[in-house]
C-alpha cells in the first residue's frame, strides 16, 4: 500500500482500477527497411484498421450528435482511401526504403503544407484534417489504442493534466475520478469533475507503473491510496456506502420548490457543457438551465460547427427541458479555451485578450451562424441568450444591431424563428459590474460569472496553481460588486443570477438569498444540497 498526498478539488470517494492516461508520442523516426512488400502490407493493414476505427466513431457520433457530426469523420475515411495519398506513401516507402510511419508522416506534411499554403481560410484549415488522418495512421502503426482507457469497467483516470480536447473524447460512464499531477482548482479538469459529481485530486506525484492496480481517491483528505490493504479498502467501502445513502436522502428533495420558510423563491438552475449533461440535470431536478456553455460544439470538431449542427443541439436541449428556461451562452472561445481552426494569434495575456464576445463582434459571420441557430431553436422551447465578457454599453448596441440583421435575414428567407427571445449579459468584468446601472435598462437579465469576475477583480490568474493561496473566493470586493449588480438590476426591473463557481458555494447560499439574488445556476450535483439550505432558511 502506498499513500500519496495531494490536494482535493472535489469531494467524494472513488474505489477502482487506476488507468494512467498516456500522452501518445507521435514522433516518427526514419528507419531503413529491406522488405518493401512487407512495409506495403503494414501500411495497408494500418489503413484498413484506421478506416474501421473511424466507422466505429461514425456510428457512435451519429447516435450522439446526429448525421452532421459524423460527416467530417466520413470525409476522413475518404481521405484515407484517396489514391493520391496512398500512392505518395507507397512511393516514399519504395524509393527511399523507409518505414511506413516515416512515409505517412512525410506524406501528411506534404499534403497539409499544400492546404496550408492555399489562399483561402477554409482550405487552409483543411490542413488539420490531413494531419488528423496521418496521426491516426501513425498511432495504428505504433500500436496505440484509441485512447488511454480500454476495457469495460469504470476507472480512476490518472494523468499529467487533461485539456478540453482530451476530456471531450472520454466516455464519462467509465470515469470514477480524475487524479492529475498538474492543474489547479479552477482548471478544466476540476470544473469537469464538479460537473460530473466525481472526486478529483491534483498535485499527485504518481508513477506510470501504477497503471492497472487498485486505487482509492479520498476527496476529503486529498489522499490517493495505491494498492490499499484489505482493512483500508473495507473502511473506504463503508464510507462510500454512507455517501450513497446520503445522496438517496437528498433525492427526497426532488420535486420540492426552492423557497425559504417565509416564502422567498429562488430559481435553481443547472450549468451544462453539452447534451450529455442533460441526464444529470433532469436527475437532480434542476428548474432550468442557467448556463449552457456552447463551446463544446466548437471543441468537438476540427471545423466551425454548421448552423444546422448547432440548431439540432440547441433544439434537443430545449425540447428535453420541456418549457423550462434554457439560457445559451454564446461561444466563449479564447483565454484558456483555444481551438486550432480559429487561427488565433498567440497572446501574452489571453485572459485579457481576444476572446468571447470580442471574437464575435470582430468576426460577425461566426456570431451570426450561432445566433441564427439559437433564434430558430427557440421555436422549440423556452430559450434565452446570454452574451459573455461585456465591458461597455457600446458592445450591447453592436450586438443588438447584429441580432436585428440576423432576424431580418431569417425573415427575408422565410425561415421560422422566435422573435421575442430573452437576451441577457454576463457580468464578469469589474467594468460591467460598476456600470451595471447603465447596462440594466438595455437587457432582460444579468448573470454574474464569478470565476472571471473574481480573477479580474483580484488580478489573480485562475490557471496558476501557485496563486491558490492568494485567491480568496469570498473577497469582500467581489461580494460588494455582486450586491451592487443585484441592486442595480432590481432598480431597472430585471433579474440577476449567479452562474460561476461561487453560486455552488453552499457557505454563501444564505448570503446570496439575503442579497436578493434571483437565480443560482450550479453544477447539477449541487442543486439538491442548495435546495435543502434554502428550504431551511427563514
Amino acid at each position: 500500500m502506498k499513500v500519496l498526498k495531494g490536494k482535493s478539488i472535489f469531494k467524494g470517494i472513488a474505489i477502482g482500477r487506476i488507468a494512467v492516461y498516456k500522452k501518445q508520442d507521435l514522433a516518427v523516426k526514419r528507419e531503413h527497411i529491406d522488405d518493401v512488400q512487407a512495409e506495403f502490407a503494414r501500411f495497408e493493414e494500418a489503413r484498413q484498421k484506421a478506416i474501421d476505427d473511424l466507422q466505429k466513431l461514425i456510428d457512435k457520433a451519429s447516435a450522439e450528435v446526429g448525421e452532421a457530426g459524423a460527416a467530417v469523420l466520413e470525409v476522413h475515411q475518404m481521405m484515407l482511401d484517396d489514391e493520391d495519398y496512398i500512392d505518395s506513401v507507397r512511393n516514399i516507402i519504395d524509393s527511399e526504403l523507409v518505414n511506413a510511419e516515416y512515409a505517412v508522416a512525410t506524406t501528411g506534411d506534404n499534403f497539409s503544407e499544400m492546404f496550408a499554403s492555399m489562399d483561402d481560410d477554409y482550405m487552409k484549415a483543411r490542413a488539420l484534417d490531413v494531419k488528423d488522418i496521418s496521426e491516426r495512421l501513425i498511432k495504428v502503426l505504433k500500436g496505440y489504442e484509441d485512447n488511454g482507457i480500454a476495457g469495460e469497467d469504470p476507472v480512476i483516470i490518472v494523468a499529467d493534466d487533461l485539456g478540453p480536447s482530451e476530456t471531450v473524447q472520454l466516455d464519462r460512464d467509465k470515469v470514477l475520478s480524475f487524479v492529475t499531477r498538474h492543474g489547479s482548482s479552477n482548471s478544466h479538469t476540476a470544473i469537469l469533475a464538479r460537473t460530473m459529481n466525481i472526486p478529483a485530486l491534483i498535485e499527485i506525484d504518481y508513477e506510470d507503473s501504477m497503471d492497472g492496480v487498485m486505487g482509492i481517491v479520498d476527496g476529503q483528505s486529498g489522499e490517493f491510496i495505491v494498492e490499499p490493504d484489505e482493512e483500508t479498502e473495507a473502511k473506504y467501502r463503508k464510507l462510500l456506502q454512507d455517501e450513497i445513502e446520503n445522496r438517496e436522502m437528498l433525492k427526497e428533495l426532488k420535486d420540492k420548490a426552492t423557497v425559504t420558510k417565509s416564502g422567498r423563491k429562488l430559481n435553481l438552475y443547472a450549468n451544462i457543457g453539452g447534451i450529455k449533461d442533460l441526464a444529470s440535470v433532469l436527475q437532480n431536478d434542476a428548474e432550468g438551465i442557467g448556463l449552457f456553455r456552447s463551446e463544446f460544439l466548437y471543441l468537438a470538431d476540427n471545423d466551425y460547427p454548421s448552423e444546422e449542427e448547432q440548431f439540432q443541439a440547441y433544439k434537443t436541449v430545449a425540447q428535453n427541458m420541456a418549457g423550462k428556461k434554457v439560457i445559451i451562452r454564446t461561444m466563449d472561445i479564447g483565454a484558456d479555451k483555444q481551438i486550432d481552426y480559429f487561427g488565433l494569434d498567440h497572446e501574452e495575456n489571453p485572459a485579457l485578450g481576444y476572446r468571447a464576445i470580442r471574437i464575435c463582434l470582430d468576426r460577425p459571420e461566426i456570431f451570426k451562424t450561432q445566433l441564427r441557430a439559437i433564434f430558430r431553436a427557440a421555436m422549440y422551447g423556452n430559450i434565452a441568450i446570454m452574451y459573455p465578457m461585456i465591458t461597455s454599453l457600446s458592445e450591447i448596441k453592436r450586438i443588438k444591431a447584429i441580432v436585428e440583421e440576423v432576424k431580418q435575414e431569417l425573415k427575408d428567407q422565410g425561415v421560422p424563428f422566435r422573435e421575442d427571445v430573452e437576451q441577457g449579459i454576463m457580468i464578469e468584468t469589474p467594468a460591467a459590474a460598476v456600470i451595471s446601472d447603465l447596462l440594466a435598462p438595455e437587457v432582460d437579465f444579468f448573470s454574474i460569472g464569478t470565476n472571471d469576475l473574481t480573477q479580474y477583480t483580484l488580478a489573480i490568474d485562475r490557471q496558476n496553481a501557485k496563486l491558490d493561496e492568494f485567491y480568496d473566493a469570498h473577497h469582500e470586493a467581489v461580494l460588494r460588486l455582486i450586491k451592487l449588480v443585484v441592486d442595480n438590476s432590481h432598480k431597472a426591473g430585471i433579474w440577476t443570477g449567479i452562474c460561476g463557481e461561487l453560486g455552488a458555494d453552499t457557505s454563501l447560499t444564505e448570503t446570496f438569498v439575503k442579497m436578493g439574488v434571483d437565480e443560482l445556476s450550479v453544477s447539477p450535483s449541487f442543486i439538491l444540497p442548495i435546495r435543502k439550505i434554502v428550504r431551511n432558511m427563514d
Partner: protein, 85 residues
C-alpha cells in the same frame, strides 16, 4: 461525352463535407468524370485532387463525363452541384 458549366454560389466554395459526398457518389459511377477550373483539372473520384483546385465562391467550373452512363451520371452531378454548391 457530356458536360456542363457551373458557377459556385456557396460562400465556402467546394467545401469538404458535401465535396466528400460528391466524391463518394462519383466513385460509384462507371464514367470518367473530370472537374476543370481555369487551366487546372482533377478527377472527381479523388478528394484531395478536388480540394487542391481550391474552388471558391464565384469560380466557374466545368464538369465532363466520359464513358459509361454519361447522360444519367451528368444529370445527377449537375443536380448535386445545384443543391449543395
Amino acid at each position: 461525352m457530356e458536360s456542363f458549366k457551373y458557377v459556385i454560389k456557396d460562400e465556402l466554395g467546394l467545401h469538404a463535407r458535401p465535396a466528400g459526398l460528391l466524391v463518394k457518389e462519383a466513385q460509384k459511377m462507371d464514367s470518367k468524370i473530370t472537374l476543370k477550373k481555369g487551366g487546372a483539372e482533377a478527377d472527381l473520384k479523388k478528394i484531395f485532387a478536388i480540394m487542391k483546385l481550391c474552388v471558391k465562391q464565384g469560380d466557374e467550373v466545368e464538369i465532363t463525363v466520359d464513358g459509361g452512363a454519361e447522360q444519367e451520371n451528368c444529370e445527377f452531378i449537375k443536380k448535386f452541384f445545384e443543391e449543395h454548391f
